[in-house]
Symmetry: C2
Subunit: 378 residues, 2 copies
Amino acid sequence: MTKNAFKTFDAQELEIQATTELKPLVPETELVFGKHFTDHMITIEWSSEAGWNKPHIKPYGKLELEPSSVVFHYGFECFEGMKAYKDTEGHIRLFRPEMNMDRLNKSSARLGMPTFEPEELVKVITEFLRIEDRWIPSKRGYSLYLRPSIIGTQTALGVRAPDTALLFVIASPVGPYFSTGFTAIRLLATTDYVRSWPHGTGDCKVGGNYAPCVKPQSIAAEKGYQQNLWLFGEDDQVTEAGTMNFFMLWENFDTGRKELVTPALNGLILPGVTRDSILSLVKSWEAETGIFVREGEITMADILKAVEEKRMIEMFGAGTACIVSPIKCINYKGKDIEIPLGKTKNDSEAGPLTKRINDTILDIQYGVVEHPFSRIIL
Amino acid sequence: MTKNAFKTFDAQELEIQATTELKPLVPETELVFGKHFTDHMITIEWSSEAGWNKPHIKPYGKLELEPSSVVFHYGFECFEGMKAYKDTEGHIRLFRPEMNMDRLNKSSARLGMPTFEPEELVKVITEFLRIEDRWIPSKRGYSLYLRPSIIGTQTALGVRAPDTALLFVIASPVGPYFSTGFTAIRLLATTDYVRSWPHGTGDCKVGGNYAPCVKPQSIAAEKGYQQNLWLFGEDDQVTEAGTMNFFMLWENFDTGRKELVTPALNGLILPGVTRDSILSLVKSWEAETGIFVREGEITMADILKAVEEKRMIEMFGAGTACIVSPIKCINYKGKDIEIPLGKTKNDSEAGPLTKRINDTILDIQYGVVEHPFSRIIL
């Protein structure tokens, strides 16, 4: 590694090559997550010799890579998922982008790949969004999904920290996860497959965490469950729900108090931006709601007992794609455990806290309520 | 999935497009593992709609893929490492290719990707080698390394079993791992990082197993150790050495007999072709050598005790790249444990069994000794 290897890129050096042919916009009703992409993409090359090259915005198009590129062989790849929102005044907003930048750096470093100055990429993304403005939907619940990725492009097959890499960002307009009210999901708790392990990569957003999960997910789908509930350890600790962080609202056995609890960041859990935001918001409501917030271990025995004793109140998954996804059932060891969905009249598929979290985060994302989580960039 | 999804490809439908410009061969002295590639490559496309397409041999060149291709994001990639050898009569040989084909299918299926009829790919590889004949070195220890890979090429970002995939094979001429006698390696036993775990993917050759290992490997290198010794569990069971299977020859505590032991295939261990071959060969020598073969648990406590009691005889890693790689030291919890290297005069860096295994497998690979492990294909 030369000294240059640690040189970050500079957003001021951005070179823009505009496309000569704009694609037609996709009608809102036809938006499918990650299917349609905008006119341009960001690419930034890195080498251990020269460090980061200038950032580029260029027409969206294929990557041309040697078949020996290590991204095809050894899983040198990490990514982020974030969204750009258009508020009622036409401003473009990002939701806590610094958290995505930091996590991308952490994931990249975990795989021996380069890091960068977080705010420089936010600046490049800002210029990208200025160009792709027409692709950012303005309707509540709609947004432009951004997918920053770093891949190892070294063309020699030796297994080592890649000597070249590529950071790229692509963008896809997306609609609301739940277009007509919530639909609570059913989970299959699995012990036949394990998503992550202590001292593994479960707390990083790296490619290798995902592909191994589709087979267990197919098994769940065949049995009529939307996602897996990932467990760990001999006491079947809950870790994640599908690709979401896991939350439950219950009455604590010991304290008797109402508690929103989520697994602690013990290395097995992805430190979700939505997860962190929910913890912060619900904590800020404590005086009013009487709901405490706790990060800690949750076992299947806890869940079973809480449901049995009618102490379980609500349960949901959380992530950038859906914000929250209410959970109404967990199949554990062949038996369906029915989870209460709260007691709202208007939306029988989500409890009041789940719904409030969703509405509040949407309000912040779309600038209905001003909050430090939402950053106006344009 | 349509019925077609399960249709395999047919080697008889192979379409060949020869390159118009042959590359210069690389001098034997300049061969570096996986750095130089031959003139052509095999590509076979798959889709869930149409199943496998016709196999193609075409000029070696870049893959052009949408940046949204799931291989760049979710680790949909698996591969094999195998070699083609030229024997003294000019025949081209493969070493147990059916094992690589079966393992590639197993890895692909584990990631929700397609499988194929093993012998059809061997046939296509045979035609490929007929074309690349001049790239196969004939000197003992030299060979043409083959890298079959399957990658997910779906262009929509949803995390699910990819609806399109690409099987490709590239080839790189390689020299002997040890060009001037053995050089025994030193390992850093790590508990800060874990390579694999029960119900994970440690027994599959998938991309996601590799990138997470380069950071621990860098840490080992900085401290003067060539590879990590991967441990698992509270009792620090040995699993693998770098990217190799682990073997030790010792005098068993309980039975007092000489034993070659390697970790059992418990889901954490890659079922190595070399590993399996070594077990089979050493078993066949039992009557003559008095060395028993056992697959079972090895803990660091076993190793410490055996070294202390002078019951440790030899230790080595095994894999396609090196065949065997003698181990002379393990650093465990900050202390170097010196491992004996046997008592040969000629090669102080490898013990007699390690050396015999290496020589025997080379003899089989190069057809000096006829053995069912070696298949003449051309």
